[in-house]
Amino acid sequence: MTVVVVTFPGSNCDRDCITAVVEGAHGAALRVFHKEHELPETTTAVILPGGFSFGDYLRCGAMAARSNLMPAIQRFVDAGGPVVGICNGFQILCEAGVLPGALLRNRDGRFHCEEVELEVSGDSPLLVAYQRNENIVLPIAHGEGNYFADDDTIALLERERRIAFRYVARDEQGHGAINGAKKAIAGVVGGPQRNVIGLMPHPERRSLDLHGADDGMPLLEALLSYSEHRRHS
């Protein structure tokens, strides 16, 4: 079984994700370039890593969402394959329409690199290794993480328990204090079998001993065990 980490031009967390899978979760990982048209046959899970794909010019994730490999990833999603999009990867999944909504520039117009407290709030096989409503701490590092979707979409996400993570610190309107994200949404669940998660925080940066905390590990472990489970069933 192989976790595929996709490298777009401008991806800069692809190696970090591979290290997290291999060194942290003792899985196998493979870098696949965006110009490919198919995922390797051995693919059991896909990570879209953080970075600035195509320079984030035009819009974050816009051009990556239209690259050669995306149709294959969409087919993988449709077949129930587990996919996690981190930071720029989340932006790409939204741009590709795999997940609803869009990520706008942070409300204060600045890049933020800091730890944030998050509430694990959604239902997904990729979240099972967390306690329900558990609070965790992960770092964010983004300039455009201000989640936006229309009210109907937000209501649907809430009703279907598809808000994967919420920022704990909120403003008076209940939006994320750090970036203005609507309803403090930091991550979203999608896919036909709730098999896709997009999130702004970086779980791979809390997955090794040297990080001093491992709040990102449950997500990566669930990604591996869910692929394992799918392979056997």
Binding site: L58, A62, C94, E95, A102, R105, N146, F148, G180
Partner: protein
Amino acid sequence: MRARVIVRLKPGVLDPQGAAVEDALHTLGFTGASNVRVQKLIELDVDAADADACKLLVLEMADQLLRNPVIEDCGVEVLQ
């Protein structure tokens, strides 16, 4: 043919750049300025038979890449 696409955030979508510009204008004393929105303007040459065909083609480009329909709408203008 030269075409111009204006991509703007839909009404109701927060525009932090616009808000920052508006704040700055106010502090400069332009208190009458409001509803500032920063928009994107894209110009391109298009190989098309006439203005209508050009516009149609550019609208298609807009829908496929230049705008994100979740947050943005757009206008197309054929320049010459």
